[in-house]
């Protein structure tokens, strides 16, 4: 099959960038989307052009490194699927496909489709952990955790930190990412001692980094490849208000 790609090319952080059109033929519907880019890059390299830079690593949907806004949708048209798991059989032969990087001020473009997502690490740094230095732990069975809490904590903890929520949010907010961690740790007994400071510090860092405010549009949860539910944000707000009340 054949596709016409319009790809964002940007030499570096200072470059203005532009969309460049590539015709890619001789493709197989069994290829993954990234394998299609591999094929294009091989051809570009042989022609002496610079290949398109894009982030990817595990290619099995768990590391969160791949990104790409495909035809306006983060991770492309298939729901609950990362770009690396998206296959060409989801596209029509001859289709025109636009490929852009995540767009958000806290995610500056490094080159082509590669953006810097270290802002997410900063949010975690601000409090997305339980302070349990190695060696200090009691026996694992010392504190039982009700199964429903453990299951919901797991659901929130499934976040892969890819940033699709930010890319999809019309406000450029990272609230779903932040809320997923707040929810994961806040549902567990081990997470209680730091529950208040965690949410306050994480939200403050989120805002300082330049992410937009959440207006509950729900675009994030639709784009999320792991389907992190929107009510994690309600939990975050609940904890935030409660923590503020105590201060």
């Amino acid at each position: 099959m054949k596709l016409t790609l319009r790809v964002w090319r940007q030499k570096g952080p200072e470059d203005k960038g532009r969309m460049v059109t590539y015709e890619v033929d001789d493709l197989s519907p069994d290829m993954s989307f990234l394998e299609m880019l591999d094929v294009l890059n091989e051809r570009l390299a042989l022609k002496g052009e610079e290949p398109i830079a894009f982030d990817h690593d595990c290619r099995e949907g768990i590391c969160g490194m791949c990104s790409l806004v495909i035809n306006g949708t983060p991770h492309g048209p298939e729901r609950a699927t990362t770009t690396c798991q998206l296959h060409l059989r989801k596209f029509k032969d001859g289709e025109v496909v636009d490929i852009e990087p995540w767009r958000a001020r806290p995610f500056p473009v490094i080159k082509d489709l590669v953006v810097d997502r270290s802002a997410f690490d900063k949010i975690i740094e601000a409090g997305g952990y339980i302070s349990a230095p190695t060696g200090s732990a009691p026996d694992a069975h010392a504190v039982p955790v009700p199964k429903p809490d453990a299951d919901r904590a797991f659901e929130a903890a499934e976040c892969i930190g890819c940033g699709a929520c930010v890319a999809a949010c019309p406000n450029g907010s990272a609230m779903l990412f932040t809320a997923a961690k707040v929810t994961h740790l806040g549902l567990l007994p081990q997470g209680q001692p730091e529950r208040d400071s965690r949410v306050v510090d994480m939200v403050a860092t989120h805002d300082d980094l330049g992410f937009g405010g959440c207006t509950n549009t729900g675009e994030c949860t639709v784009a999320c490849p792991k389907g992190i539910p929107l009510d994690t944000i309600a939990r975050l707000n609940h904890d935030y208000l409660k923590a503020g009340g105590k201060r």
Binding site: K11, S28, D30, S32, L34, E35, D38, V39, E42, L44, A45, L46, E49, E50, P51, D55, H56, D57, C58, R59, E60, I62, C63, G64, M65, E78, Q85, H87, R89, K111, V114, R117, S118, D121, I124, E125, G128, Y129, I130, S131, A132, P133, T134, G135, S136, A137, P138, D139, A140, P144, V145, P146, K147, A150, F154, A157, E158, G161, H184, L188
Partner: protein, 647 residues
């Protein structure tokens, strides 16, 4: 026995001098008591470099920083959270005996030594089994959401053919949850200023001074800047080298460069030929394939593996009647059936495909059929158990496994070999420590399911932080002379420029694919003297062609993914040669190394304990030069070697 020494030289035997001698249960306590301690006030003045942020590196960085050391840490990914440990699905073993089913530290120790086909060190494995219990406690305290039962206690399952339920898990994402636990602990230390973190940095050389590892040269993958960092000690936590096969379940970026650079600087590389090939991966669909996807082994609990009886039978699976199907695992191994260990299941699949009975594109696949399970348990029950795996399979292949059997094929998954380390996890280069999959230590010739996560975290949380203190306390060092640093940087820079200047007519990937095909063919699931010798001709020739014809577009001054790949592939060439040498010299079959010449009358792997009960640790002598073998003899005081049987 015939050993042709023309392809390698023999060196002095080596020995692990750090493990205490007494009763095995007391060795680790004794060692911990014997280590010299670093004065708390001095810890702040000691800097440790850690390369890699997976389970081993992440946990080590967090723990060393908590102890008060200054940590400088690197990873090639954009965040420590993306290290490939994240992709581990199954679970983590621990001898908690929460099930009261007879598990114990000793049983986990025994199972691991046996599972490793008697090619691992008893002292190390026993320590691993002891620590396994602390790991679970630690992870729960950090908030790792393990699966729980209705009573609120942790759930366990039996995994990889183990007779006891000792595997803790978080659905099919145990690696992810454990890694995020370590990552969060690490980020807490970054925030506290105890860890200086450098993501998107790749280590390209080890800095040596006075015979000790004193630092690393790294390339900033965003700006292209080559810079060095010095420290009191260096820790490599850089994972395995399965990507030498091009196609593997490893992440695209997983590579051997850090370990290989250390090897070139004097660290011995142990057992490079021990490769684990996982039986249940999604088969290759075409030449474009860039990586292979693992599907949890648990599928074999309910799925039945079969191929057509007749070679070249290309009917649709539903059209093949029951009596024209060969459920070969059930036929050959009636006792274990579809649940035989990984290496056996993998080789059996290769054998039936070699007979021309494979299914799917290229005839490289076997069926894993759930029709029986769906009929017996109902579609809903099957969906509840395997729903997400079925979805993943359908997403990748476009086929619905509820309607037609899955196709699976073995794929390279894990490498047991790695840099040689002693009981303290220190390599043969003083001050260079190696942890996690990057070292060779605990799995022998074959790793059991759910043991990789256990080893990575044991090394990082509990072993290294204790043992590295002994080294730091005993070896105060001064500053590294500036000329040593500049020389190391210059060497790295020169290599980068060389790669960029070749300007040939073949891409890096085309070389990598070709190398992978050679390795898979001749140093894959089944190895023969003839094949390995052929590989040892093909690889150097391809390596030479690489340095003549590779084309690396772009420059070294910014993000250049082709350049990154080129450097990694160049090192894979040298590693591939060593793997073939190791595989050729080890004329026995053991664990993940099957030599066709060494099998019993039933076609099962035949070990040769009389001649090969040792660790093969290789010394680098130069590109294309014969490596030198140093043997570390293995002694079995607690577990008597026996031949594995799964019939």
């Amino acid at each position: 026995m015939h050993i042709d020494e023309s392809f390698y030289g023999s060196g002095e035997p080596i020995a692990d001098t750090k493990a205490p001698a007494g009763p095995i249960e007391e060795r680790w306590s004794e060692r911990k008591f014997a280590v010299k301690l670093v004065n708390p006030a001095n810890k702040r003045k000691k800097t440790v470099i850690i390369v890699g942020t997976g389970l081993a590196g992440g946990s080590a960085g967090a723990t060393l920083a908590e102890l008060g050391y200054k940590v400088v840490q690197f990873c090639y990914q954009d965040s420590p959270r993306r290290a490939h440990s994240i992709a581990a699905q199954g679970g983590i073993n621990a001898a908690k005996n929460y099930r009261n089913d007879g598990d114990s530290v000793h049983r986990l120790f025994y199972d691991t030594v046996k599972g490793g086909d008697f090619r691992s060190r008893e002292s190390n494995v026993h320590r691993l089994a002891e620590i396994s219990r602390q790991i679970i406690d630690q992870c729960v305290a950090q908030g790792v959401p393990f699966a729980r039962e209705y009573g609120g206690l942790l759930d366990n399952r039996s995994f990889g053919g183990a007779q006891v339920s000792r595997t803790f898990y978080a659905r099919g994402q145990t690696g992810q949850q454990l890694l995020l636990g370590a990552y969060q602990a690490l980020m807490r230390q970054v925030d506290a200023g105890n860890v200086e973190l450098h993501p998107r940095h790749e280590m390209l050389d080890l800095i040596m001074e006075d015979g000790r590892a004193r630092g690393v040269v790294v390339r900033n993958l965003v700006t292209g800047e080559v810079r060095s960092h010095t420290a009191d000690a260096v820790v490599l936590a850089t994972g395995g080298y399965g990507n030498v096969y091009f196609l593997s379940t490893n992440a695209m970026g997983s590579n051997v460069t850090a370990a290989w650079r250390a090897h070139r600087r004097g660290a011995l590389f142990a057992n490079p030929c021990y490769t684990q090939i996982h039986p249940t991966c999604i088969p290759v669909s075409g030449d474009h394939q860039s990586k292979l996807t693992l599907m949890s082994e648990s599928l074999r609990n309910d799925g039945r593996v079969w191929v057509p009886v007749k070679a070249g039978d290309d009917r649709r699976p539903a059209d093949i009647p029951e009596d024209e199907r060969d459920y070969y695992l059930e036929r050959i191994y009636p006792a274990f059936g579809n649940l035989v260990p990984r290496d056996i299941a993998s080789r059996a699949a290769k054998n039936v495909c070699d007979e021309g009975r494979g299914v799917g594109p290229g005839g490289l696949g076997v069926y894993l059929d759930f029709a029986g399970a769906i009929e017996r348990l109902g579609r809903d029950a099957v969906a509840a158990k395997y729903g997400n795996l079925f979805e993943m399979y359908e997403r990748i292949t476009g086929e619905n496994p509820y309607e037609q059997p899955m196709r699976i094929y073995p794929a390279v998954h894990y490498t047991m070999g790695g840099l040689w380390v002693d009981y303290d996890l220190e390599s043969t280069v003083p001050g260079l420590f190696v942890i996690g999959e990057a070292n060779f230590s605990d799995h022998g010739a074959n790793r059991l399911g759910a043991s990789a996560l256990m080893q990575g975290l044991a090394d990082g949380y509990f072993v290294l932080p204790q043992t590295i203190g002994d080294y730091l306390a005993r070896n105060p060092v001064g500053a590294v002379p500036a000329e040593t640093v500049t020389a190391a940087e210059a060497e790295v820079q020169e290599r980068i420029e060389r790669l960029l200047s070749i300007d040939g007519d073949r891409t890096v990937d085309s070389f990598h694919r070709e190398l992978g095909a050679i390795m898979w063919e001749y140093c894959g699931m089944e190895r023969t003297e003839e094949g390995l010798r052929k590989a040892l001709e093909l690889i150097p020739a391809l390596r030479e062609e690489f340095w003549r014809r590779v084309r690396v577009p772009g420059s070294g001054d910014d993000l250049n993914q082709s350049l990154e790949k080129a450097g990694r592939v160049a090192d894979f060439f040298e590693l591939a040669e060593l793997m073939c040498v190791d595989a050729l010299h080890r004329t026995e079959s053991c664990g993940g190394h099957f030599r066709a010449e060494s099998q019993d009358e039933d076609g099962e792997a035949a070990r040769d304990d009389a001649n090969f009960s040792y660790v093969g640790a290789w010394e680098w002598t130069g590109p294309g030069e014969r490596p030198i073998l140093h043997k570390e003899d293995l002694a079995f005081e607690y577990v008597t070697p026996s031949q594995r049987s799964y019939k």
